[in-house]
Subunit: 231 residues, 2 copies
DNA sequence: ATGGTCTACTGGCCGGACCAGTGGACCAAC
DNA sequence: GTTGGTCCACTGGTCCGGCCAGTAGACCAT
């Protein structure tokens, strides 16, 4: 038997949901002044405390703008409804496929735009990484910085942000579990080799090579870290 | 003269900041039970109401887990400190460059993976769009759905999410101002032509063509919507 | 071992009180 | 007419004390 769990939704949640519905449906237009807290409490049949808690929830999520002595105004620019889908769980294959395509292109672009100082920074990064084989956390962090640096080389902040997004998707518990196998020093060493190959391609300003080496690197990572489901 | 604005921080904000600091500094470990609301109020020298408001703020942001009858627990997984970097303003050139590269690749992949029903859906979408030349809002929305559909064709949720992110970056007030020139029916008609060309390439399962047509489309959009800074 | 009861917690909610910020109405002085 | 006071009717901000409901553990009778 599988009884449904009874839910008791806290009052402030109910109230804020009601208000959000009203705002979204246009009963309260952006910029409009809401009824006072006392009125809302009376109309909703709850105490003023609960209304205040609901309003604070709305304020935090950007639905309203509370101004002391004035009242509560509906926000001019309504917040994203997306409700923090933040780290939606996503399959290893999907993630790695996307990384291969996107980071491959980024590497190609980086080969053409990287400055000498960035290339030098990357060389230092790789050396530090090689010195840290064994320390999983430090290694992991350097790996992240390596990929972030490549996107920075494009000079395009959008690529930086997307690389960051891709990396974050790898932080979910589901993944970190897989990465226990990360421990193997052989794996770490192989990744360093990949990184060096990428650096070489960047230095040679060879976009095509950078792209293919990067894609190879990501396929390696997939098969070695998350099992051999790579194509 | 440029006097600084005096700030009066609301109590619940101060309290939650204090608690966040304590949690982050490890005085309250993840999973640990916090002092009761009454104790906190006494220790902080404020009323229980204010403490409750602060706790609700923390709960919304995922710092704590409030359980009726038990107490308030520090969350196991502390929330991202990233504090809504959400829609960082970004230059038109950067955004369009990124879109060209990424959506180009996506289109190429979509050409290989799109199902017949998705292609049919896209055809319908284009027709609807052509019927709406003139209605800016509806047109804009259909445009978004068009690009979202292409990423859905890849069958990879990561691409869908990234396309969504790219689109959101276009919503900032800075951009929507530019898009006033959107009004021109000639521009709208030209975009429909581009969309049709993309659909043709997808139907032909020609990844290379899909990619180049998509990139051309995005360059067109840049020059026509945001001025002719395209290369 | 089981199941009831009591009790001492916890958060959830209430309503009334007072304080502080705000802006408009009003008025006197210049 | 403009300026600057005073007053007042609002608003949200904060506090208090009370009561309810959910919880867990101690205790006890079965």
């Amino acid at each position: 038997m599988d009884l449904p769990t009874v839910k008791v939704e806290r009052l402030y949640r109910q109230i804020s949901n009601i208000l959000i519905t009203y705002i979204r449906d246009g009963h309260f237009a952006p910029g409009q002044l809401l009824p006072g807290e006392r009125d809302l409490a009376k109309q909703l049949g709850v105490s003023r405390s609960s209304v205040r808690e609901a309003l604070i929830a709305l304020e935090i999520n950007g639905w309203v703008d509370i101004r002391t002595g004035h009242g509560v105004y509906v926000a001019q620019k309504l917040p994203d409804e997306t409700e923090v889908p933040a780290n939606e769980e996503v399959g290893v294959e999907s993630l790695m496929e996307a990384r291969g395509v996107i980071e491959g292109e980024i590497a190609a672009m980086a080969a053409k735009k990287a400055t000498e100082s960035q290339l030098a920074e990357m060389a230092g990064l790789i050396e530090a990484m090689e010195a840290e084989i064994g320390d999983r956390a430090a290694f992991h962090d350097h790996d992240r910085r390596f990929h972030a640096l490549i996107s920075a080389m494009t000079g395009n902040p959008v690529f930086v942000e997307i690389t960051d997004l891709l990396w974050k998707k790898r932080q979910s518990p589901h993944y970190t579990e897989f990465e226990k196998q990360y421990s193997g020093e052989a794996v770490a060493r192989s990744m360093c080799t990949d990184h060096r190959a990428i650096l070489d391609a960047l230095r040679a300003r060879d976009g095509k090579a950078a792209k293919s080496v990067m894609q190879k690197h990501i396929r390696n990572a997939q098969s070695k870290l998350f099992g051999a489901r790579a194509r």
